[in-house]
Symmetry: C2
Subunit: 230 residues, 2 copies
DNA sequence: TCGACCATCGAACGCTGTTCGATGACTCCG
DNA sequence: CGGAGTCATCGAACAGCGTTCGATGGTCGA
């Protein structure tokens, strides 16, 4: 069968989309491509490189689709838009976030995304060190949220067949069942947890970071227009 | 051979400390315990549960060693101290962070740590929703940094035998070799990257978040004593 | 003394990533 | 036209993995 690096990566991404990281198997991928598992090694040195290239592939597409997101007048708004685009992609592909930050040197598109974030920070009045720290913190935060959402739903959920909201409520009940003496906070926020929306949580922490960055740029004066609510 | 859940988890943690997650093998663990691999299944249902319990084990020890870290007068300072304790543990055990947030229901100690963070937030003048968002954001950020540090050093490094600082400089050179037109930010912060210290970066983002939280508590007035520099 | 339960064991199964040598197709050069 | 050589693919095999199973002996209470 006639393959090509593109078709290999394309099918690899499809496999990842369908079953997550454990579903990406050389044999399963070979079956899709209509050939033997050994053939894949012609295009890729090992499974790690396959994963790297697959994630960089989707990062490349994401960069294309968001090419215009850095051109707004407000750099902070651009950072928010860029971060939300990453969040959307991670919601679509839970496996994606997990491999986002292993910049093993290859992964040029991940590096490009990092640079895009940094370019917005260069438009703010910050020191290079502040900019480097800000970019790193933003990426780490995004990846942290990604790792959270990448957790596969416990099989209790898959078995129960409940709606996500109902399952969340069931989970909140488990919080409420804890000993209030040892877990006062769990009780305090059980309701919030039951009703929470992942994107709200993401936006909230993101805005904390962005407000802090903007405050730095404004020279410690209170930031204008920075959303610190919610 | 006579095992016990404690010795099993203890040796599992030792194995993880020595070789990271891939080193934790049922056969390797059995060899350490002086028995067969199948015996481990008496104490643990499968490898996932073994990992969960092992991480919860070290989280338990961490909770003990930091039991006094929530008693300071300033909740924000307590949050910083708690976060730094987690950071230290992740630096000591790179594998630890990766498994910190899979709260599959078991993992009572991870839940306890989450609650401890929340308890400090309960001392701040925030809405329950704000507190839930703040706790989630803090944990996500910490985990994101953890994921970053959990990346095994590329084998180029292990082969070269260079000092970490020298290797970092070599990496920075690679940034400097990129096309400045496509990667302006990489050039802009290459020096910072070469000299950066992981803990500084962590503290920086952490302070952004904490400053934002404190600003929320202060009702949008500029926060007192929140470190926004660096 | 007998049965029940606890803890452990060796052997095996099915799966994984990966390697190797062979095999055919295709291109280029004399 | 013919042979050399690279390209791409293949089947088979290897070592390792998590996991299961049935058997085995040890320990305890009745």
């Amino acid at each position: 069968m006639a393959h090509s690096l593109e078709t290999v990566l394309g099918e690899a991404v499809a496999l990842l989309d369908e079953g997550g990281e454990p579903a990406l198997t050389f044999r399963a991928l070979a079956a899709r491509l209509g050939g033997g598992a050994a053939s894949i090694y012609w295009y890729v040195a090992n499974r790690d490189e396959l994963l790297d290239r697959a994630t960089d592939e989707v990062m490349g597409h994401l960069l294309e689709h968001t090419a215009d997101l850095g051109e707004g007048p407000d750099p902070v708004a651009n950072l928010r838009a860029l971060s939300l685009a990453l969040f959307d992609e991670m919601r679509r592909r839970p496996w994606f976030g997990s491999y986002m930050l292993r910049n093993t040197g290859l992964q040029p598109n991940s590096m490009l995304m990092f640079d895009r974030i940094g370019q917005q920070l260069m438009r703010l009045d910050l020191t290079p060190k502040q900019r480097f720290h800000a970019a790193s913190s933003l990426v780490s935060y995004i990846v942290g949220i990604a790792a959270d959402m990448a957790q596969p739903p416990p099989k209790e959920f898959l078995d129960s067949g409940l709606e996500p909201a109902a399952f969340l409520e069931l989970y909140a009940d488990r919080w409420r069942a804890l000993d209030p003496g040892h877990y006062p906070f769990a009780h305090h926020v059980a309701d919030e947890f039951a009703r929470h929306d992942d994107e709200d949580v993401f936006r909230s922490g993101l805005d904390l970071l962005l407000a802090g960055i903007q405050a730095q740029a404004a020279g410690r004066r209170p930031a204008h227009g920075a959303r610190v609510e919610a």
